[in-house]
């Protein structure tokens, strides 16, 4: 049974988004995703300043088993990337919703997360 925090929003492609109090959005992959991938060995993220469209590939997460594309759950501009993952990608396995975050975005549209799944809907995909 994977961990699906109620306060987050989810993409069908297994990324999560948290809208922070300052209006920025933090993005990572879900507990279900990290568990399915197994040992994560590499995370490739875009450059700060990159502009992402919703659904666009923004990077790659690699595990011992396979490499998988990462998809932007909402449109926005990259404000920060988690450089700590370069040396410790396994952080995504250990803490997918906290230390294992991948991007901070300035959302292109403040209401964009409304189109994403809530925890209840996502749990039907990833229970």
């Amino acid at each position: 049974m994977s961990n699906i925090p109620a306060e987050l929003r989810y993409a069908k492609s297994h990324e999560w988004v948290r809208v922070e109090s300052d209006g920025t959005a933090t993005v990572g992959i879900t507990d279900y995703a990290q568990n399915s991938l197994g040992d994560i060995t590499y995370v490739q993220v875009p450059k700060v300043g990159a502009s992402l469209k919703a659904g666009e590939t923004f990077g790659v997460v690699e595990s011992v088993k396979a490499a998988s594309d990462l998809y932007a759950p909402i449109a926005g501009t990259v404000l920060a990337v988690n450089t700590a993952l370069d040396g410790a990608p396994e952080t995504v396995n250990r803490a997918p919703y906290t230390d294992g975050w991948m991007l901070k975005l300035k959302p292109a549209d403040a209401g964009a997360t409304a189109a994403l799944l809530d925890a209840g809907a996502y749990s039907k995909l990833a229970g």
Partner: protein, 373 residues
């Protein structure tokens, strides 16, 4: 997954959190906790692997030794009771049918361990080749389970469960031993590059033996290890895997296993003429081992590029070394693209990983220092 074959330990794996996957038609644990952590535990202390999917074959009869020496490239005549031999088994073309271990138990009494995915093919091949010899070939694969205890503390863990003097059993030797009250063929061999034992035993005893080894090992740092760690351990040690570094199209000479091809052993064998010619003329393609200095895994079938950017081969195995923290692998390349010798730093081979060109630093395996006995 109902059609997959199961070892006697399938429920044991499930109860211990094993993630079961299809491996060569068998439902096997690829990992329990983490492939990387299991790998490190084997290098640091010990790991327990279920490799009961491997095949076992009895070869008996007055011409068993002569038959096996015709069948395999290494010199079976060097065996004495209690000694184990690793050898490729080749086609007349020099390509590899399988690689296997040959055990001599007593006069006219040999025992083979063969790869799980090749059991049917190997038995058909061996029976065809046996026509001219007074020999009996018996498939014992369903009778035996096989547990591997590997790592610097493996011998200590097995010793704690047996009165047999394991210190007298040197690397690539074996003994009959009672381990946790269970009759075993205890073989000081493995596929990790570490010291350790492979314990062949009756399939009906597997659950009891696995439980006893786990109980004796936990306080000594042993953990259950799956086939994921087994693969990264063998690649880090530079051992070939059938279907990757050796195949029907890749000879032992091309794979860097020349030490297992005894052209002058005084007996003809399948592949001898082809392998002699290949040795004289040089292998047109070679297996090379590489590391990249980067964490991105260079996966099997990735094209290998020469200095002018043209493909000169392909990757056949690739993983992340959990010890070196960088990608390691092996590739089959045009021999003209690499200077002679085991390591060829000037080769200037590269791979393209999602648009990034990474150099392959050629390495003579093992990738890390090994301390096996």
């Amino acid at each position: 997954m109902s059609e997959l074959k199961r070892t006697p330990l399938r429920e044991f794996h499930a109860a211990h959190g094993g993630r079961l996957v299809d491996f060569a038609g068998w439902e096997m644990p690829v990992q329990y906790r983490s492939i990387l952590e299991e790998h490190k535990s084997v290098r640091r202390a010990a790991g327990l692997f279920d490799v009961s999917h491997m095949g076992e074959v009895d070869v008996r009869g007055p011409e068993a030794g002569a038959f096996l020496n015709y069948l395999v490239t290494n010199d079976v005549a060097k065996l004495y009771p209690g000694r184990v031999l690793y050898s490729p088994m080749c086609y007349p073309s020099g390509g590899v049918v399988d690689d296997l271990l040959v055990y001599l138990r007593g006069p006219e009494d040999y025992f083979l361990c063969i790869n799980a995915g090749n059991i049917d093919k190997d038995l058909a091949w061996m029976r065809e080749q046996a026509a001219k010899f007074k020999v009996t070939i018996t498939d014992r694969s369903a009778d035996y389970a096989l547990l591997a205890v590997q790592g610097p503390r493996a011998a200590e863990i097995v010793q704690s469960l047996t009165g047999a003097k394991l210190g007298l059993v040197k690397y690539y030797h074996f003994t009959e031993a009672t381990v946790a009250g269970i009759n075993c063929l205890a073989s000081r061999t493995g596929y990790t590059g570490e010291d350790g034992f492979e314990l062949y035993h009756s399939a009906g005893d597997a659950v009891a033996l696995a439980g006893a080894l786990l109980a004796a090992g936990v306080s000594r740092g042993l953990e259950l290890a799956g086939l994921g760690a087994r693969d990264s351990l063998r690649l880090e040690a530079g051992y070939p895997l059938y279907g990757h570094e050796i195949t029907a199209d890749i000879s032992p000479l091309a794979a860097g296993l020349g030490w297992t091809v005894k052209l002058d052993k005084g007996a003809d064998f399948n592949g001898r003429a082809a392998l002699r010619a290949e040795k004289q003329n040089g292998s047109p393609r070679r297996i090379v081992f590489f590391k990249t200095g980067d964490r991105r895994i260079v996966r099997a079938d990735t094209p290998v590029l020469g200095p002018d950017g043209a493909a000169v081969g392909r990757v056949v195995s690739g993983t992340l070394s959990p010890i070196l923290n960088e990608a390691i692998g092996s590739a089959l390349v045009d021999a003209r693209s690499v200077p002679a010798g085991d390591a060829a730093p000037g080769a200037a081979l590269t791979v393209d990983i999602r648009g990034t060109k990474l150099p392959l630093h050629l390495v003579k395996p093992p990738f890390i220092e090994l301390k096996k006995s």
